[in-house]
């Protein structure tokens, strides 16, 4: 566009801003008149383009026209004109935003563009589809933290839904190219952020969206990560379904070198994808349900997945430990390293692996690149803060490591200095605290002004946390206060009030410290810590504050020593009085009043009275008030009683957490840092059983609320089981091997292996379509293994031991292990959900399988019918009605005695007595067995008696040595016999 280039040149050649403005105004007039005349579409494109340029050059306010022409361009059949039309819309419509809320803006934008977008989304031209999808993703995108929400009741809701439906169809359609798929995945993510309800009411979308992670096209993979993260965040129960695919993908890239050539960046295979995938998995470990229980733990991962992840992490760490040439390579490798290290802790990596990571990171600390030093520190902080066994502080040659880190306190970049301080804070432990604190105190005077408050608080917290010797603690803290005297250029103290207030709290709460501190503080006031270079240290306000309090309260405990006399104490404080700020003076006035009461005969009393008189005229309201009240008290014919009331000793502090933690800085955000328990303070606070302290500790309120429900569960419908699920379920009730499920595409066979309270379920998934159509099963995912037992005290625990391969031609195996912990109720059986693709169709199966107490039954040898009868009576005596349950059973076809005997033996009963098929009219079969749970075993006795003449009606009577268990077993027996639920 020649005219455009000329215009830009002209603008750039303007001598000054006035000339530029003039030219712009001229052009604006010109464009406006052109728009009013008849121009062709090329000219339209050119003038709209000029308009955008003017807008972007800082003349946004002057561009108040051109929308009509932009819309005309959007309707053009030429791709480039359409493209420019959309660009113009997104630039020019944005203009109105400052006057309205974000929500109103989005609604009005939607109103204006909706019909155009729909038309382009429905076009048969994919390039046109792309433009509309891009417009959606770019202009309706808000951060995930947004509170802007579309609700069903909103007037605009149908329009949003229409967009979402079409975009969703692009994401999941098998016929669209990956270029539109990836754009649509991002656009869908933007739309769902605004309208999350859609995802909750469209449960069936989720498996399809999750399968995007496994897409062969890496572009689709990386573009769908935010969407997948969003889906899993709203439905955390799917987290286990998605991890195997992601870890396999990582494994293929990092270990198997399966990354396609075009996705290599220099020598690194798809570094951005790797980082994002690692980050996604790390995110999963942070997910928690509504009761703050972590959704994912390492025990939930099958062995293969865990091994894949561990190898990926180990390899990434190893790759980065070798010298790497070229900045792009180095950056890519390091970004993978940092992400891998961050994840390593969650994988319960071996200490070898962690030490490897620490060494690789320590090596990077001496790098010449500031970026690398900064990020290596950051990674070390995460690693040490999250890992439970403090690997870094326990690692070999730790002293050398400390030296390296201390050196970084003097780095050229302040961000590095701050990070190294954070790292020291995280790695300090009971064996190094004293050394670290000494070094940090030495560092204090040399430290940046902006870093001083943080440094002071870190020292205070570390000292409190690890102190074992109270004298050491007080000395250290007073030293901190005295060297941190002085103010920064804004006139505020280097360190916040929290520090001295905390010291006072601790002194009040620990009687043995009171005398000691008084001594120390007097000596400090007499002779401050001298700094190494002999420059006088500024008077420390914070120290005076502590002194004012401590000497006022406990100063009398040391006056028996002449060098610590009352008189001396008074003069030290009195000398400081006029050198300190008004707040501190107010505190000192109170101290002097305490002196006045405690030592009425000392010769400094008149000085106190004079001071009160002078300060009664103070301009400061607080000082004036105090002086006036204290003077009145002192000159009044006081009674000792009145003073006792006014100057009550400080009560013990009961609040458990320290305000210091509010100021600790960014380290506190890293999960795993738990430093609120104080050694010094803990003893007194815990012995002082106040209500407040218990209120924090005990948590019955929490327990009442935690009923284990997931709020999403309530809103979503329960899982709908696949048709024909029951025959497999029923078969598994009494047969230990057979067919679990079958349809045209797939057949699943099973085998149950019993071992006490542990059951192993081996499933073989057979591809039925291989023979008929020759197609493979692909993308097989175990979406969910939903156990319907209580989450927090489950009656049984499921573990996916072996995952089936996701792609196969013939068959794939999977294995689930079950541990029965307690009496499993009959409605608690789990649901296995799997999804797979076969010949382009996307299939979901939801199959229930029986996890029942009766499945743990093993036979027991009884000495004939007599013993059976004896035990039968015994249970009746012991448990009464609790021990027995009987059920009337109606069978669909006739059973004879041998049928019943076979059935009972199959279930695991030892048959003790059976009537004969030939001779007896009434059928009676008795059996005995043992039920196993992790907690205990139960003896169980069964009697089956026919109640008609043909063998179709029976009474099943069960007695069991556990209260209430008989009923559970009887109902299961009824279901087995009747084949109905």
């Amino acid at each position: 566009m020649k005219g455009l280039n000329q215009f830009i040149v002209d603008i750039r050649n303007s001598k000054d801003i006035e000339e530029e403005k003039k030219r712009i105004n001229l052009e604006l007039n010109n464009i406006q008149s052109k728009f009013n005349s008849n121009i062709n579409s090329y000219q339209k494109k050119k003038y709209v383009c000029k308009l955008i340029y003017i807008y972007l050059s800082g003349y946004a306010d002057s561009v108040d026209f051109g929308l009509k022409e932009s819309f005309q361009l959007v309707c053009s059949s030429s791709h480039s004109e359409k493209q420019l039309g959309y660009l113009a819309l997104s630039v020019l419509i944005n203009n109105d935003k400052s006057t309205q809320s974000t929500r109103d803006f989005l609604d009005s934008l939607l109103d204006q563009v909706h019909s155009y977008l729909i038309k382009d989304l429905q076009s048969s031209n994919e390039d046109t589809n792309c433009l509309a999808v891009q417009f959606i993703a770019s202009n309706f995108n808000l951060p995930e933290s947004t509170t802007v929400r579309v609700n069903e009741a909103d007037e605009s809701a149908p329009k949003w839904l229409e967009l979402i439906d079409i975009v969703y169809s692009f994401v999941t359609s098998p016929i669209h190219k990956s270029v539109i798929k990836k754009k649509a995945a991002i656009a869908l993510y933007s739309l769902l952020k605004l309208y999350p309800q859609v995802l909750i009411s469209n449960n069936n979308w989720i498996p399809r969206l999750l399968s995007l992670a496994d897409d062969k096209d890496y572009g689709v993979s990386i573009a769908s990560i935010p969407l997948i993260q969003f889906v899993v965040k709203s439905k955390p129960q799917f987290v286990k379904a998605i991890i195997p695919a992601i870890s396999l993908k990582l494994y293929n890239i990092i270990i198997e070198n399966k990354c396609p050539e075009e996705y290599y960046y220099y020598k690194s295979p798809a570094p951005w994808l790797v980082v994002k995938l690692l980050q996604l998995i790390e995110y999963f470990f942070f997910l928690s349900d509504t009761n703050d229980y972590a959704v994912l733990s390492i025990a939930d991962l099958d062995e293969q997945t865990l091994n894949n992840l561990r190898s990926v992490v180990a390899q990434s760490i190893q790759n980065a430990s070798q010298p790497i040439k070229g900045l792009p390579n180095r950056n890519s490798q390091s970004s993978t390293l940092f992400q891998a290290v961050s994840l390593a802790v969650f994988l319960d990596a071996s200490s070898d692996a962690i030490n490897g990571a620490i060494n690789a990171l320590m090596m990077l600390l001496t790098s010449n690149e500031t970026n690398t030093r900064y990020l290596a520190l950051d990674a070390l902080i995460k690693l040490t803060a999250r890992s439970t066994s403090n690997n870094l502080s326990a690692s070999p040659s730790i002293d050398e490591k400390y030296t390296k880190i201390f050196k970084l306190l003097y780095d050229r970049d302040i961000s590095v200095r701050r990070k190294s301080l954070d790292l020291l804070y995280t790695i300090t432990n009971a064996s190094s605290y004293s050394m670290v604190i000494t070094k940090l105190l030495d560092y204090f005077p040399l430290c940046d002004f902006t870093l001083k408050p943080e440094l002071a608080i870190k020292i205070a917290v570390l000292a409190e946390k690890f102190a074992t010797d109270s004298t050491w603690y007080v000395t250290t803290m007073l030293k901190l206060l005295s060297i941190s005297g002085g103010v920064n250029s804004n006139g505020t103290n280097y360190i916040g009030n929290e520090v001295w207030e905390r010291i006072v709290q601790i002194i009040v709460n620990n009687e043995d410290l009171q005398k000691k501190t008084s001594k120390l503080i007097i000596n400090l006031l007499k002779k401050p810590f001298s700094s190494t270079d002999n420059t006088p240290i500024a008077l420390s306000e914070n120290l005076i504050k502590v002194a004012a309090f401590v000497l006022g309260e406990y100063g009398d405990q040391v006056t028996y020593m002449s060098e610590l006399s009352t008189k001396l104490q008074f003069h030290l404080l009195y000398d400081a009085y006029f050198k300190v700020s008004l707040t501190t003076r107010a505190m000192l006035l109170t101290t002097f009043l305490k002196f006045f009461v405690k030592y009425p005969d000392e010769d400094f009393i008149p000085e106190i009275m004079d001071l009160f008189e002078i300060e009664e005229l103070s301009l400061d309201l607080e000082i004036q008030t105090r002086a006036h009240e204290y003077l009145t008290l002192a000159t009044h014919k006081y009674s000792q009683q009145l003073f006792k009331e006014v100057l009550k000793p400080m009560p013990i502090f009961v609040k458990k957490e320290s305000h210091l933690m509010d100021r600790i800085g960014s380290v506190s955000h890293i999960v795993g840092v738990n430093r609120s328990k104080s050694l010094v303070l803990a003893k007194n606070i815990s012995s002082n059983k106040s209500k407040a302290a218990r209120g924090i500790d005990s948590s019955p309120i929490l327990d009442e609320n935690s009923d284990g429900s997931n709020p999403f569960e309530e809103e979503s419908k329960p899982v709908v089981l696949s048709p024909n699920w029951y025959s497999g379920y029923h078969r598994m009730l009494h047969y230990d091997a057979g067919i679990f499920y079958e349809d045209q595409l797939i057949k699943i066979t099973y085998r149950v292996i019993k071992e006490g309270c542990a059951l192993t379920l081996k499933l073989t998934i057979i591809n039925n379509s291989a023979k008929t159509a020759g197609t493979d099963i692909t993308g097989l995912t175990v979406l969910n293994l939903e156990s319907l037992t209580d989450d927090h005290d489950p009656n049984y625990v499921l573990n996916l031991k072996q995952l089936p391969e996701s792609t196969f031609h013939d068959k794939a195996n999977m294995e689930i292990s079950v541990k029965i912990r307690n009496v499993v109720e009959n409605h608690e059986s789990p649901i296995l959900s799997i999804t797979f693709m076969c010949g382009g169709s996307f299939n979901t199966l939801n199959l229930k399988f029986p996890v029942l107490l009766l499945k743990t039954l093993t036979s027991t040898a009884l000495n004939g019918l007599d013993e059976f009868n004896r035990r039968w009576a015994q249970i009746g005596e012991l448990l009464g009605p609790q021990g027995e349950s009987s059920q009337a059973v109606n069978l669909t076809h006739r059973y004879n005695s041998s049928n019943i005997v076979r059935l009972l033996s199959r279930l695991g009963f030892a048959v003790v007595h059976a009537t004969s098929d030939e001779t007896d009219n009434t059928i009676l079969v008795m059996g005995a067995g043992i039920l196993h749970t992790q907690k205990t075993n139960y003896g169980v006795l069964a009697t089956l008696k026919s109640t008609d003449q043909v063998g179709k009606e029976f009474e099943v009577a069960i007695r069991c040595s556990g209260g209430g268990v008989a009923e559970v077993v009887a109902i299961t027996m009824k279901e087995i016999l009747e084949g109905k639920f």
């Binding site: 480039s80 770019s138 808000l142 075009e262 970026n371 050229r412 590095v416």
Partner: protein, 145 residues
């Protein structure tokens, strides 16, 4: 886990490219960000200081190429190096596309920059990471009239 905006500023602070992925900003916010960020970044020492600096509870990741600062604002939890290298990736794409890119290319082809960005990033997320695929796609789009 996303980019809030990408800015390309020259040393005088003139905007060469501004792509705002986060649509909650007002015009005023944008002006303020640009001038704040220019002041913040131009005062940093390229040799001694890192390429990352925190700004308004986000992280700025930036790098200077000749007279231009390429800057992106990402979440605090995001990987700095990954985005730093992504900026370099963008610069390499521009360099190939414009055949030795210089500041003037960006000035005269400002509208094309948006089309290029739309093939690499979208809605603040990384959309494609294969240089070949992006360049092929751009060549294909240029052929469409």
């Amino acid at each position: 886990m996303s980019i809030h905006f990408i800015l390309v500023l020259n040393r005088q602070g003139k905007i060469r490219l501004a792509k705002w992925f986060n649509n909650s900003y007002t015009q005023e916010d944008k002006h303020k960000f640009v001038s704040d960020i220019h002041r913040l970044i131009s005062s940093r020492d390229t040799k001694k200081q890192s390429n990352f600096v925190e700004y308004q509870s986000t992280k700025l990741v930036y790098r200077r190429y000749a007279g231009l600062y390429f800057i992106c604002s990402v979440d605090l939890v995001d990987s700095e190096l990954s985005y730093l290298e992504s900026l370099h990736f963008l610069v390499e794409i521009l360099d190939t596309y414009f055949d030795n890119v210089c500041e003037l290319d960006l000035v005269f082809n400002f509208y094309k920059l948006y089309n290029i960005l739309d093939e690499i990033y979208l809605g603040g997320e990384i959309q494609e990471i294969s240089k070949k695929k992006i360049l092929d796609r751009l060549a294909y789009l240029d052929k469409l009239s």
